[in-house]
């Protein structure tokens, strides 16, 4: 893996994406009248959810509750292929029945993490709707999952990884394609 790393999104671009996603969430509004709940996928999805929530609150949009899902995409076959992600924890100590839930993750790729998250959420209750917001959509989904809100579509080749770096966790805001683990 010697391809040079490309910066797809810098800090400013990420901030713009977050703002735009928040605005789109606010614009779509809430048809059924249930409250808005943001659920971030640990860890970077949760950080993004916090940023989106901050923008929404700044714009005066009411958020009923925020929570997180911890979904691990552990490798289980020893050959480097990712096994199926599964729920390992959650912090959603409130009912989600009748609510409009926005699920936030950093990257949408195979769709398997989102599937695990949807199952986890529907185990918890009967939300009115679940929407999906991602910073990066890599395409090439293995499941019929699509995002409602996308920061940027990045069609990277399958052998290249897309790294989302966020200040809260990595000390820098950037989306980097390829180049090995920075």
């Amino acid at each position: 893996m010697s391809t040079p790393a490309t910066v797809a999104l810098d800090a400013e671009a990420i901030a713009r994406c977050v703002k735009r996603i928040a605005r789109e969430i606010a614009e779509r509004g809430n048809g059924a009248g249930g409250g808005l709940i943001l659920i971030g996928v640990v860890r970077r999805g949760a950080s993004l959810a916090e940023r989106i929530a901050a923008v929404l609150r700044g714009d005066g949009v009411a958020i009923l509750n925020s929570g997180t899902l911890d979904i691990s995409s552990y490798r289980d076959d020893g050959r480097g292929a990712p096994g199926d992600p599964r729920l390992i924890g959650r912090d959603i100590p409130f009912p989600i029945d009748g609510a409009r839930v926005v699920l936030v993750d950093d990257v949408l790729y195979t769709g398997r993490t989102v599937r695990a998250a949807l199952t986890a959420l529907t185990d918890l209750g009967h939300p009115d709707a679940i929407e999906l917001a991602v910073l990066v959509d890599r395409g090439a989904h293995e499941l019929p999952i699509r995002a409602d809100y996308v920061g940027k579509n990045i069609a990277a080749p399958a052998d290249q990884r897309v790294y989302v770096r966020l200040n809260e966790i990595d000390g820098i805001d950037a989306v980097v394609i390829g180049g090995g683990k920075p």
Binding site: T119, D128, I130, E131, L143, P144, I145, A147
Partner: protein, 649 residues
Amino acid sequence: MARLAKYDVISIEDLSTGEIEQIFALADKFAAALESGTPSAIAAGLIMATLFYEPSTRTRLSFESAMHRLGGAVISSADMQASSAAKGESLADTVRVVSAYADLIVVRHPYDGAARVAAEYAPVPIINAGDGSREHPTQTLCDLYILRRKKGRLKGLTVALCGDLKFGRTVHSLIYALARFGANIVAVPYGGMNVPDYVLERVAAERNYNFSTVSIDELKSQAGGLDALYLTPSAPHQMALFTGEMPLERMPSARPPAALDAFYVTRLQRERLAEKDRAQAGFALFDARALRTSRAQEAVVMHPLPRTDELAYELDSDPRAVYFEQAAAGVPVRMALIAWMLEHRERPAAPAARIEPTLVFKGEPEPRCVNPACVTRHEGPYLHPRFRLARSANRALLSLRCEYCERELRVEFVGHATARRYYRFDENLYGYVRQWIDEGSLAVFETVKQAEESGYEPYRRGPQREIMNAAEIAAACNTIAVQIIADVADPTALALVGVISHGTMLALRLRGLIEAQTGVRAPCAALDVYGGDTAIHTIEGGADFDVNGRTIVLVDDVINSGWTVQRAMTALWHRGRPAAVKLAVLIDRGHRALPIRPNYVGRSIPTARAERVQVRLGPAAAAGEPRRAPDRVVVYSLVESLKEPESPA
């Protein structure tokens, strides 16, 4: 020796207040007799069987001790999981067989409502020694007995229930009883383990009873007699607990609770938590600090035992700690219950004071209990879910209550079984629904789709328009088949799963088209998203349908919200790990409530929410057969919110 009357003690509510008082009077007698060593032989010649499908020390030993002390005999299968149940014998068969060996059966079982099932099938009386997270009435008898002995009364006492109030069955039975005896309850749930709604709704509906909830930190912050408390505006009643300003209408007693009389602490029911929740359930320690508040000076501390780490050992020496006395009361109280049953052996089984009749679903889809731990979800086909009408907070939904586990099922669509018409429920229909229940002709559906799959038509429909004819449907299937073949590198890795029933028909057509072009006959399965637990059936081929490593094409006729697809994916994942899942639908009508997008779409049609898209397909007509009605897709509007449904017939 005459057998005992068939008088089951499944719930604390099976015993009237007067009967509980009689049992307590007997318990006083037996406690004194045990103290003085006076033997009893009133149960001589009787045999009690203890069937414990869950581990127990105290309950089983105190029952067995009580029976021995009364001169009776005990037969026991201490570990049912390792015996006949492990061979797959049903609970119903087990209790019928054991009824021939014993005069009385004590049952503990991990599923909610299991004791009710045992009572229905056993000709001898059943005593519930704990069923799932539901009830544990004899523990409640012990709790009430000790509380009354320590405090001299039950009415007007204020009891703080601390710990796991969600799964703690002893707590649920105790709440029903305290509400009945006019005691005040303060709920102090730990780690979000709050009293379940169905318990709150039951005491609210049957006893017009409400109680308040505070956190353990709020309780402890009262150490030193502090009367101020940080309160959230949404819970003003929390203040009342500590200031004596309890709003009277919230409390069954006219006396505002200035002091707490008892703390009832329970352990976290770890065995009933999903694996993923175990790590997170934070549990506070109940220690001497909680007793230092000025309001708790006179309070006794109770615990059904066993304790894990929620109750500090430092309390053991405090005279207010009565949990070992509580455990010791297990024998005289259970002796009293058995003796009471002996005294009342002529008494006929109490007529069940059912306010609502049991619903009968003759040949119609049986609604499934929403509670995954309900006994009806585990005992096999002999046990049918049973519901009765319940009061509902939401007037747009019909509310049914499971007779076994008490959980509420909220139903959106109802139907009349003879008229074969379905309706979206609203309160205007309530009178008709009552009438249909009386006739035994009520059907209930989770979705419009389920209603139509069951052969029901909407009560009234607006004008319909055809949006696809047979030729267009055939062309759309062709296009989808070609797209699938182009997408999938290896057709032998393909498998089709059709959602019953139109999705399955489409899946079979697609399979035929794919076979015609590639020569590969892909495995095909039908997926029933309504039938009991979501199930996948292989259509042909005999062998178990294997999803591992396959590219699954999930096929449905119409995609709307996406909930069906979500349920179907969950079912697939129960089977294994597909390499990929593609979604093929004949019609995408919009209105998605989930982030799901089909990969192959015959036609996208914008529709209004109140419109219904109906796909009509038939199996391919064999040569020589008369032509069936042609395939078509129609859209019509549902006329809803009817005031006068047509007279059923």
